[in-house]
Symmetry: C2
Subunit: 357 residues, 2 copies
């Protein structure tokens, strides 16, 4: 199977969503680039991390990149067996905290590498003794300059305001970086471009599903484990492009309160990958069905057969599933926005680079 | 000023929301109990933490208690100047991670102390070398038994499904524990019961505000810094009791995407405390107003004068403001639920103790 040769030129200018559509379609090519041309730089950064033997890992990010950072946190906690945390950047910027960060690995994740609060927090982390790594789509960015080590996710210029290819490239870059930093094999990742191209060809089915949410104002996305960041990113993409109140909950947290909010008027998308996280979600799905909520599964063919939805390739290692499972959800956000008459390339009120202090 | 002598017996049985109303009203008494009878046990735990000199802090919680844990994370990052993280419990339960937790302080926060996944994660943390502390409302609970150190938040039996008094008691307990663990003074906290009673007497104004949201289906709560957990807890309370899709965003994250979702149909509640976090939010409020969103402020009298809302007492140290600012938001959830014909004491689909694995 080969990847579609889609690119920014595919649809003529002026067609809503052409940038986002093209960037969604480019993802298998982006991953291949990262796995080939990008391999050496990732290995170098991974070796430096291994030599440093960090005892604690912090991740620093905002927006879509913060979902990639959360995925990295699961990799650190489960595969490196190290404690990890997501930094609240304001503690180092607005509040001026200067924490003791010896033995800490600080990984900053950002598409543009340009948000001033992340740059400042990265500078502080380096001054305070952390080993700093910037995972960005711009190796010439201030964030990359602030960090000792850099990984370029090689997604190419991202022009749609809603990030898509940079997100999956961040996931893959974090996987390659963190797995190699612990001496693991990343062989399984080489199947992703071909698998991704196959998933993208299911677009027609996603377009049909988008019809279903044409008039939805609220929506919940749920998952557990490695797929929980996918749920968060899917919700963010739907908010950004289709303006609905989409909320993500881990399957466990959903039972601690938000379950009350669900009824026939609130559709639920469940990301049920194969593996430990997916199986942990199986206890939650019947409870959701009881509420009368409209359930739609993305992932395991077995779960999709039972609950309806979109099946994804089987036998993908659980920790790589997030790279694939976000694809139909990005397509859903695109198609829903178009059906609602919006232009997902330039959502109202947003700028591509967000400058928060 | 004295606190209202409200208790569970105040309203007759069968009146919707009587438990939640009583438990909201009890909070100043609960805090006074924790500050007097509870002081010694907190000091003992704080001394043990100080003796251990942890280098990293992890917090473990779900639901409402997870918001209190996030508040604790800000205290650790800003006041202790230590790196901190919120644990994803599934990494230690479902995924079986056995991280190296030497030099780590693990703080579990739970009302009931009964959720099996938290108990298991606490046991793992202790086996893996962490100093473990359970902050619960039940010193006889399995979570308390699993931890070396315990803090009883002394909120008394909480019978409403929607947690209120246990939440503010958790905040105060974490403040007392963490401030004393770093040798700080907790004198300022002694003003809270009187201030809280005054805030609660503003209930009439909250009831009027609740009218405004009678038919809202979506709502956003925003804040920065120490008040961000208050935004999350307010959103959760509104979801649980009034079934609307309430979402919390840090003011900075709101600019990274979700801003697009806002328009005249999505009311925004901004928690604008006095201090660094509140001032950081000031840049966000005009951007929100530009979207045409219906804005309502809770906190600084100055911000309330400009944007409308409910003013809270001035000259409260920023890190204590969360204990007070949640009160009108709890009252809002209660009054909105009642106006919508619900019973906030027993929201549909929820159980008081949530058993996730």
């Amino acid at each position: 199977m080969s990847e579609p040769a889609s690119g920014p030129g595919e649809l003529p200018e002026g067609i809503p969503g052409r940038l986002m559509a093209a960037e969604i379609g480019e993802q298998p090519l982006v991953w291949r680039r990262l796995l080939t041309e990008g391999a050496e730089q990732v290995r170098t950064a991974a070796a430096a991390i291994a030599a440093h033997s960090p005892r604690f890992v912090l991740l620093l990010a905002r927006g879509t990149s913060d979902r990639a950072a959360l995925y990295g946190k699961y990799l650190v906690e489960i595969r490196h067996q190290l404690p990890a945390g997501l930094v609240s950047p304001s503690t180092m910027t607005a509040y001026g905290a200067r924490p003791d960060l010896r033995d800490v690995l600080m990984i900053g994740v950002s598409q543009s590498g340009g948000s001033p609060d992340l740059v400042r927090a990265m500078q502080v982390a380096r001054e305070q003794g952390a080993l700093t790594v910037a995972v960005t789509n711009n190796p010439g960015s201030p964030l990359a300059a602030a960090a000792e080590l850099g990984v370029d996710v090689l997604a190419g210029p991202e022009r749609a305001v809603a990030a898509t290819k940079s997100y999956s490239a961040q996931l893959l870059a974090l996987y390659l970086l963190l797995e190699q930093a612990r001496g693991g094999s990343v062989e399984a990742a080489h199947a992703l471009p071909t698998l991704g191209a196959a998933v993208l060809r299911g677009q027609e089915q996603v377009a049909v599903a988008a019809e279903r949410y044409r008039f939805a104002q609220r929506l919940v996305v749920t998952a557990r484990g490695y797929s929980y960041p996918s749920a968060q990113e899917a919700a963010l993409k739907l908010m950004e492009t289709s303006y609905l109140s989409a909320q993500a909950f881990s399957g466990a947290d959903l039972m601690h309160g938000p379950l009350a909010m669900l009824d026939r008027e609130v559709p639920v998308i469940a990301i049920r990958s194969d593996g430990v996280g997916g199986r942990a979600l199986d206890a939650v799905l019947p409870r959701l069905a009881e509420t009368g909520a409209d359930l739609f599964c993305v992932g395991s063919p077995e779960a999709v057969q039972r609950w309806g939805g979109i099946a994804l390739p089987e036998n993908v290692p659980e920790e790589l599933a997030p790279v694939l499972e976000i694809l139909p959800l990005q397509q859903l956000a695109l198609h829903l926005a178009l059906r609602r008459g919006g232009d997902p390339d330039s959502p109202r009120g947003l700028r591509k680079v967000t400058e928060t202090l």
